[in-house]
């Protein structure tokens, strides 16, 4: 793939605009709250798109196209099963408590609802995890640019990190969010042509169905048994593991996305954020997954296009870029590449802005220095932003050197995260849930996750305690690990709560169902009613599932 002057011009134009937005927003940063939380100043259409864009990193873009080529339309389950229901639940049922609590972060909510140790556990694991995942995606981008364009790994990692640092340091969370929306537009407009060109070249959806095995083009026909589909999952673990535990855990409790909804101007708009975001989200599979499916068909059409290979197998991670080389002439190629950069930057800025807030408020202000003037915390926030970027770069190199260590770390953080949704569910909807119940529930859920991983084997992974059960894929293993963690956390939290003393109800106002005022939905137009919007989103996603069944 070779770039021409016009492609570099487009890339430069994009850099100027993101930096310009950051520079322009610099004057809005007058306190630590403006810098770290946007002080409820962001309009709802912007928070909604940022809610979706913060999750749409380069790894997501590359990975979804890769999964499209590997698994077919079943990949859309990560959206239609694994995101939309959770986003609706978040908007309709959970945002009132996040907003009502006036917490500035998810760990802070845990502190208000439970106690200090639950917050500490969540804050520290979240802070470390964000830095690692931002480093891993930086590594993925650097590797890709090196492979495809021959750019130096160090140069592309440092330049893109420096730009993200510049605009988040200038305008804080507001700047990150505003740029995420610009980046979202660019990703959609830059990659839609690829989806249209590749799918129509393969004969449209009917052409794909005719050319590919049935299992590649049906989302639901082959999920009764894990041996029937390439994902190696069956319907229960798919719906309960991915659709319930993992997706609700991510979309409802991960501060990276929750932070976008918390930046909304008021509770009503905070609730609308994930609900409005659900609509663009449900159509993203057509842009990010379809090209991958089309690539498989194109490779069988005698067009001189073959799926990229690595050693004896396919290198699915390169499907997206090889397609760009086949379909994008100079000019649009620049837009596509800029879109890839944009997705990387929106993912990284998301991580960095979540990291600096949790570090400043939940670690520094809670454990290191409590009663300093606000200007001090603003400086700490800025310092944490720089540190977050520097740590991410370090992690990118660590990943390059020790891939296995990073895999292991991701696995361990997965265990810590898996039970989290059970804690939130009980904490938000059952007044009796006690602080000790939550803490020991989380710990035992994490242990259950590790134990499930140790007792099951899939594709040579896991089974380090005893290989009792053999599963078809690591994906199925992930889903079962999550299910076990959720169930154990739920049961232990309930049991411990029943034998320990709960928080007095007077301290739970704004935090728990029943003692939090929920805004009435009468007298507001239908498009602003959370329950109705949520119902429409669910109905639309059922129709999509039915069409692609």
């Amino acid at each position: 793939m070779t770039l021409h002057a016009v492609d570099y011009l487009i890339l430069a134009l994009y850099f100027i605009f993101v930096l310009g937005i950051g520079w322009y927003l610099k004057k809005t940063v007058t306190s630590s709250a403006h810098f770290l939380t946007s002080q409820h100043s962001v309009p709802v259409w912007i928070t909604s798109l940022a809610f979706v864009a913060a999750n749409l990193g380069a790894q997501e873009l590359i990975g979804m196209c890769a999964s499209g080529a590997k698994y077919g339309i079943m990949t859309a389950h990560f959206y239609w099963v694994g995101a939309i229901p959770a986003m609706v639940f978040m908007g309709v049922f959970m945002m009132p408590f996040y907003f009502g609590s006036r917490a500035r972060s998810v760990p802070e909510y845990l502190k208000l609802r439970f106690d200090e140790k639950t917050r500490g556990l969540n804050a520290i694991s979240f802070a470390v995890m964000t830095v690692f995942s931002s480093g891993i995606s930086m590594y993925a981008l650097g590797l890709l640019l090196k492979l495809v364009l021959g750019w130096s790994f160090t140069a592309s990692v440092l330049v893109s990190a420096a730009i993200v640092l510049a605009y988040t340091l200038a305008g804080g969370l507001t700047s990150a969010i505003y740029n995420e929306v610009l980046q979202f537009f660019l990703i959609v407009l830059g990659f839609s042509p690829l989806a249209i060109l590749s799918v129509s070249r393969a004969g449209g959806w009917d052409g794909l169905r005719a050319r590919l095995p049935m299992v590649m083009t049906s989302a639901w026909h082959y999920v009764n048994q894990s041996s029937e589909n390439p994902m190696g999952v069956e319907v229960f673990s798919l719906v309960a593991g991915l659709g319930f535990v993992l997706s609700f855990g991510y979309w409802c409790t991960n501060f990276l996305v929750v932070q976008r909804a918390m930046a909304a101007r008021n509770m009503a708009e905070g609730r609308l954020t994930p609900l409005i975001g659900a609509f663009p989200k449900m159509f993203l599979p057509f842009i990010v997954i379809m090209p991958g499916i089309a690539a498989v068909a194109l490779s069988q059409m005698g067009l001189n296009y073959a799926l990229p290979t690595k050693g004896a197998g396919y290198d699915y991670d390169q499907v997206l870029t090889t397609l760009m080389a086949q379909f994008y002439p100079s000019g649009l190629l620049g837009v596509g590449l800029t879109g890839l950069m944009a997705s990387f930057m929106s993912g990284m800025a998301g991580n960095v802005t979540a990291f600096n807030t949790v570090f400043t408020y939940d670690i520094y202000q809670s454990y290191i220095k409590k009663d300093a003037p606000d200007a001090h915390y603003l400086n700490v926030g800025r310092f944490a932003t720089i540190a977050g970027v520097v740590f991410s770069i370090g992690c990118a190199y660590l990943t390059a050197l020790y891939n296995n260590i990073m895999d292991l770390l991701q696995l361990v953080f997965g265990f810590v995260n898996a039970p989290l949704f059970a804690t939130f569910l009980l904490g938000m909807f059952w007044k009796r849930t006690s602080a000790n119940g939550a803490f020991f529930g989380l710990l035992s859920g994490t242990l259950a996750a590790a134990a499930t991983h140790g007792l099951t084997v899939a594709e040579g992974k896991g089974g380090w305690i005893a290989p009792l059960v053999s599963l078809h894929s690591t994906m199925a293993q992930n889903f079962w690990v999550a299910i076990a963690a959720f169930v154990v956390c739920f049961v232990i939290t309930t049991v411990v709560s029943l034998v320990t003393s709960p928080k007095p109800v007077s301290e739970l106002t704004g935090l728990v169902w029943g003692v939090t005022p929920i805004p009435r939905e009468k007298n507001i137009p239908w498009w602003e009613r959370p329950a109705l919007l949520g119902a429409i989103a669910i109905a639309a996603v059922i129709v999509l599932n039915w069409i692609f069944r």
């Binding site: 487009i10 937005i21 322009y24 610009l182 407009l189 042509p193 060109l197 994008y328 649009l332 837009v335």
Partner: protein, 61 residues
């Protein structure tokens, strides 16, 4: 800041650049592309950019 403004300017410029490439070098093709894709996506982005600018203008007045 009304975000529609900078986004609008960005996509208007991007659309102009792409359409221009499509007009000046209409035969620029990638191996599997049969149409002047630069021109068509350029026009789409130009329209998107102008719509954003129009919306921003209406909101301001």
């Amino acid at each position: 800041m009304d975000l529609r403004k900078p986004s609008g300017y960005f996509f208007t410029l991007l659309g102009l650049i792409l359409s221009l490439v499509g007009l000046v070098a209409p035969d620029t093709r990638a191996p599997l592309t049969e149409v002047n894709v630069n021109l068509y996506s350029g026009i789409a982005m130009l329209v998107f950019g102008l719509v954003l600018l129009l919306l921003a203008r209406r909101a301001a007045s």
